[in-house]
Amino acid sequence: MINRLASIRPGIKNIDDLRAHLQIAIELEHSTIPPYLCALYSIPDGMNVQAAQVIRSVVMEEMLHLTLAANILNAIGGSPDLDNPDFIPGYPTRLPDSSAHFKVHLERFSKRAIKTFMKLERPAKAGAMPEADNYQTIGQFYAAIEKGLKEICRHNRHFNRDRSIQVKPEHYYGGGGGVIVVDDLDSAMEAIKVIVAQGEGLDHTLFDGDRKIFGENREFAHYYRFNEIRRERFYSDHDSVKSNPSGAPLTVDWDQVYPMKINPRAADYPEGSELRRKSDEFNVGYTTLLKNLHDTFNGRPDWMMKSVGDMYKLKYLAVELMRVPCNDKGETAGPAFEYQKAE
């Protein structure tokens, strides 16, 4: 993923730059979803309920962010591109974190996975523009988009006002807050704010922006929610951003997890083997989902329904893979999230 970020020069000078940035924003938001899903699906039904709930809520928000980025891109005459081998980063992938890069794996729920998630969601320092010739942090990247929108789309320039291609609240539900229909600069800025605020904490408090933006119950920003799992303890009322949680214990059983091997790939299994067939099945299903989402974001918002069905099917298939032993280390297979068209 870092390569994609590096592929564009910082700074947005024209509408094409802005569209290119938003396409990468979609890819960026997507890139964290498979790792989160691997951790989530590796937790068997009814185990580690609180941890699963936190991860699920984060995934829902990432999906919302993806949708919002696509809505903005659609609103300014772009075409989100999801049905493309390059859309999936390939795991492990690298993502920027302040000055350093770090690897993100497809791996089962574990302390290490949670630490990675915390890096993914670490609160950004206020988004100063990059001085180097590429983006160093995701915060910088979104700051550039905000600035670009304000400049390039001033006086609502470039907005096509075609609400029929926008994904609306009626299509998207079930957590993460509401979808924002983007048809002018104000709504675009509102959508960007949701993306930035939910992940990273607004104004550097423990709480994310939901309360301000959606008027919902305040929830800890992702980073802090993950820290609770990592430390196996809830934050209490007098904890601050700097402290670790010191409230009631949060029970995590790190062993109640399907022992999925790290970064599974279809090519791990011989052609013609049953496991290869099943792994391919997942990949083909995932590719179909991307195609359906692509169509959803390119004029068929009502097809979101189909995509939700695809997501559930993939979930059940992923869990099945995670129950199948695949090596003599006692590990099991898992979903590979590779681009693979049906034959």
Binding site: S57, E170, Y173, G174, G175, G176, M305
Partner: protein, 573 residues
Amino acid sequence: MKEDNYDVVIVGAGIAGAILAKELTEKKKRVLLLEAGKASDDYLSYLEVFYTALAKVPNSPYPNNPNAPSQNVLNLGPIPAGAPNLNGYMVQYGPVPFGSDYTRVSGGTTMHWLGHSFRMLPNDFKLHSKYGHGVDWPISYDDLKPFYEKSEWEIGVSADVEDQIYPGMGNNFFGKNYYYPMKSLPASYLDQKVAGGINGMKVKLGKNAYPLSVITTPQGRNSTPNKGYKPIGASWDNNIGQRCEGNSNCVPICPVQAKYNALKTLNKADQKYLTVINQAVASNLIIDPETNRIKGVTYKQYQSAQSSDHTSHTVQGKIFVIAAHAVETAKLLLASSAANSSDLVGRCLMDHPTMLTWGLMPEDIGSYRGPGATSHIPTFRDGAFRKEHSAFIVPVDNWGWLWGEFSPGSDVTRAINQLNLFGKKLRGYLDGFVSRQFGLQFEFEQLPQHANRVTIDPNYLDQLGNYRPVVHYDISDYTRAAMEAAKGVSDMIFAKLGVEDYTELQPRRYRLSPMERGQAIHSRAQGIWSALIAWERTNQIRSLTKTRNHGITKTCTSSDRAACRLLELPILR
């Protein structure tokens, strides 16, 4: 807690009690709610019980509670002449078994209702003057209309007004700008096939021909909200159940609470003004002999369902509402000798006798997906035929032969044991057979009959010493005639759609395993909304506002005179 402090004492935390509790506490009235069953504070544990229940009947997820027993359809059986069937909670004299069950638990029978939310039609209120049967209501459809609207918004009903076209609905059935709180649920794939095949087809009934239509069914189940409505999801996580997720399990339990249950309303009550006492079975109403008003309720409180240990208490209040379900309410009134100078309490017990027809569609229709029924045929809800026989409504079943044949469990057993299939051939057979399974339900209007009644008998008491309901029940010729007519309708529909009719097959010879029976009776409760405001003719005590639960659920009544095989419980076979 001061025991004389209540403005209103409500017996029963079902839909009626919950709505009252909510409305009254919003107006700062102090309300006491007595619930015979347990609190529903662990909904997910119900789900676990359901998964491992061999017989997945409507009451299977809910506690078996001898202190507040519920009727279980597993206990139904033939009734020998002269002696009642004592197997279940009800004492059944028949001659036809009363097949509905209800659930005595916080939330009431909405816990397992199907969610169908129909309004009655204008002519239903004037059956006698219009068609010469039954009786006219003292009120009209228009009197009830505003309450229907309110109820639909409380329940959260999904439907599009423009789709809802019924016979005899008149010009102003829905208010001018009325809309349901949520859009219609998508019609199932098989609904679309059926609609494509029979819409506009004319069916003759008596002298007249009636054009069939297939329309979506209004139901208390979350879908896309309309303006001003926010769907309420699961009580443990509102992000879950914002939409119906297609669990295909409305009865006995929706795993995500996308289906309405009365707990949602109860949660909205202003808790400052509400006191709820669970595991408190009302056993007697205390009547002031001078004013003839109710002045208190005696209830028995127990700690554990397994022990009959209990303590008795009496509460007082200004107004008493008995909202304990059609059967339990009548029982309590009779036990208290209340409101019965007319001798009408407990009489005119009604159900909705159901006839199933089923067969195989020519192609895969994707059976067993979605809510129990997403569409229905409204054609026979009203018409001149009501001079001859009762009206009926025809839900198009999304759950194949589940109810009629206990499929697919029975198909699996037959394929393995009788057809001697295994391996890929077994798979192929089941795939080809089960996904084409198609069924229609015909649900019939029943007229008020005095002999159909709930009574009490000191010989029949439950573990706490409260009365068990003693039930006499039959189906009239007027309704039976409709069953014959309905079988004719089914034949014509099957012929048009090319359905291979399996309805008249002889009962199979193989013995059903308990699992198959379970699959069989995994039936859907038909919570017909109209029953909520069903006959009210016994309201004599001024302070007594008697409401009725929608407690009419599934029925398993059968008629040997109907031309086809009617629904029979497998246990009868």
